[in-house]
Symmetry: C2
Subunit: 415 residues, 2 copies
Amino acid sequence: MAGVNEICTRAAEAAPVLAALPTQVKDAALSNMATALEERASFLIEANAEDLDRARSDGISSTIVDRLRLTDGRIGGMSEGLRAVAAQPDPIGEVLEGWKRPNGLLIERVRVPLGVVAVIYEARPNVTADVAGLCLKSGNACVLRGSSIAASSNNAIAHVLRAGSSRAGAPEDAIQLVGGTDRYSAVELMQAKGYVDLLVPRGGAALIRSVEENATVPFIIDGDGNCHVYVDRSADENMAIDIVVNAKTQRPSVCNAAETLLVHAEIAEKWLPAALDALAEKGVEVRGDKVVQQLWPDAIPARDGDWGTEYLDLVLAVRVVESLDDAIDHVNRWGTSNAEAIVTQDISAARRFAAEVDSGSIFVNASTRFSDGGEFGYGAEIGISTQKLHARGPMGPRELTTTKYVVWGEGQIRH
Amino acid sequence: MAGVNEICTRAAEAAPVLAALPTQVKDAALSNMATALEERASFLIEANAEDLDRARSDGISSTIVDRLRLTDGRIGGMSEGLRAVAAQPDPIGEVLEGWKRPNGLLIERVRVPLGVVAVIYEARPNVTADVAGLCLKSGNACVLRGSSIAASSNNAIAHVLRAGSSRAGAPEDAIQLVGGTDRYSAVELMQAKGYVDLLVPRGGAALIRSVEENATVPFIIDGDGNCHVYVDRSADENMAIDIVVNAKTQRPSVCNAAETLLVHAEIAEKWLPAALDALAEKGVEVRGDKVVQQLWPDAIPARDGDWGTEYLDLVLAVRVVESLDDAIDHVNRWGTSNAEAIVTQDISAARRFAAEVDSGSIFVNASTRFSDGGEFGYGAEIGISTQKLHARGPMGPRELTTTKYVVWGEGQIRH
């Protein structure tokens, strides 16, 4: 089994070949990868069964076993994702802008691949296909390091993807899976300076902390999601209930699920009891401030810690605010820059919330659950950046690129 | 004197005010800053004299004393830079793109400020004005940390700039100068996590190393410049001499000066002796490979170490290469991703060099000395990024921004 160093070296050697690959070859490779996954579905499901058996005998929680499971439907989903990525425009070679200087120099800014993109991720095996597809589309070699729990599934998927892409003429070394799944292999990857141009850790707080402590390669944090829904005094009441119920309950375990509901005092008395009834019906535990407790006695008293907690569960912190300003201040104090929603019919409230809340994505009259690369139309996503440098919000193929200036002269020298 | 913590807190508090500042206020502030520098020139020159006296009595080298010196001309240069920055379009609020999803969601990507930008820099006091101007234009608060050698000058410049900008209605705390100039204050700034959104170190290898070791805030490396000029077999011979002489000698101490000359073997015999004569006339010491030594006996034998050295002096490494491929390989092996030039009349050679050389800026038939924010038309520059994430090449006001998604819906929820 190749070590991290050898794998990174191979990826770095494949990178210039990938950077020069014509669009048609990349798209044909993506299409072959999609077909190969479907054709080899039984092979994948067999490999996945090994992981499932191991997980069950190790007493892994049923939520995680469920995330791990491959079905024909989920394999079809991976293939669909790869085809959607193929259908995107090729970001590479795009001339983003160009201008002429008074001395005649023509300056062009051109989009180019980063080189080698590494992703460390947890249970879900579909990430293997998503990342491989987005990296190939953007002309990057990828180094994938999944978790031990999904080792057999990831191996099988990577094998099928490599075979599919190389049949179209993409270099086989473009898609690399790190065999070792111990902690050491992750740290080795974080420190593969000079080989890895971008590392995206997709996992919980422990992984993020480890990257922040150990990484010497450039990285983008795919971080927490303490997401907010603010219901303004002018909100459409039914729409507001639909959005908050969706944002909280449609999939509570993911980072773009809502964790706090803020309600304008003027609408609270009328709207909040009905909204909290609707949430309670879906099994949501409400932790409210004093006003909330008065309006809806089933609420558990909220503590200060609740405003900063990402429950990832059917729990919602609820607060009544006196004004739009208070709502903005609350989000800017407690939010994690992932996704926040406002429900309002008031255009100036919407514009102020959008302008003044410091977050990666602001949703006006829509659920925070749309903060997602697939929902944004990127076919798949590499993660959701909660930082400000390089990429912010859902990351698609374009976020895996950098630019280069190409300056055309006729002998200009500097005086 | 306020400590780093207090200064960063003030900057962070000013940041949202700056982010919301109308374009006219920002441009009026920049214009006031330019005028104020000119009006207070004698005050600045007096403060500068203190630094100059101290530097001379400390036995600082004359090169550095020269960089430190403020003259009416240099003060005028700072003012001109500020006016050029004012004349740029306001990057903030720009809608970079927008699209509609099948479910009706309208997704917009909007340019917003980073928040607080910190710059650690060395002798030249003009950086104080350049950085303050670019940060204000891009709606960011700035924290400036200059070197002890220029402490009085920087203090005076910052004082004048703050007075000028606040007269136009910009928050005074937008421009912060760290009073302490010991090593500790720099490290404190590198670790002001949660306050500093971007740190740009502008200095030598020791500063870069310290940032890489100590920084917990996001940073962009303004790194080395081991820049190359490649003279292709099809080069216009006079143009090639002009460009290499300019790139090496016009200002040898800066990062975009050329350090290595590569010459195609087919043109070497005819072109190289005349070119090296012209360089020698300007006082350049040539370190050549075997072929160069044969063609031009005054050349000192080059060692392997020469290809990786940024001389920042009148020294040039010279190598004859067999092909365009060899030239590209050499640059990709030894370059530092700052700026590289090709001199050629062959369009396919130019396009291949531009595509395959992995560097921030590629110049076709122009001097590497144009790798500079001012020369690119940004009015001033915050530095030259030699990394791939977030910014690459000369950085102007736009590189001090991030984006935010604003998504407009009509009650959409996710199914």
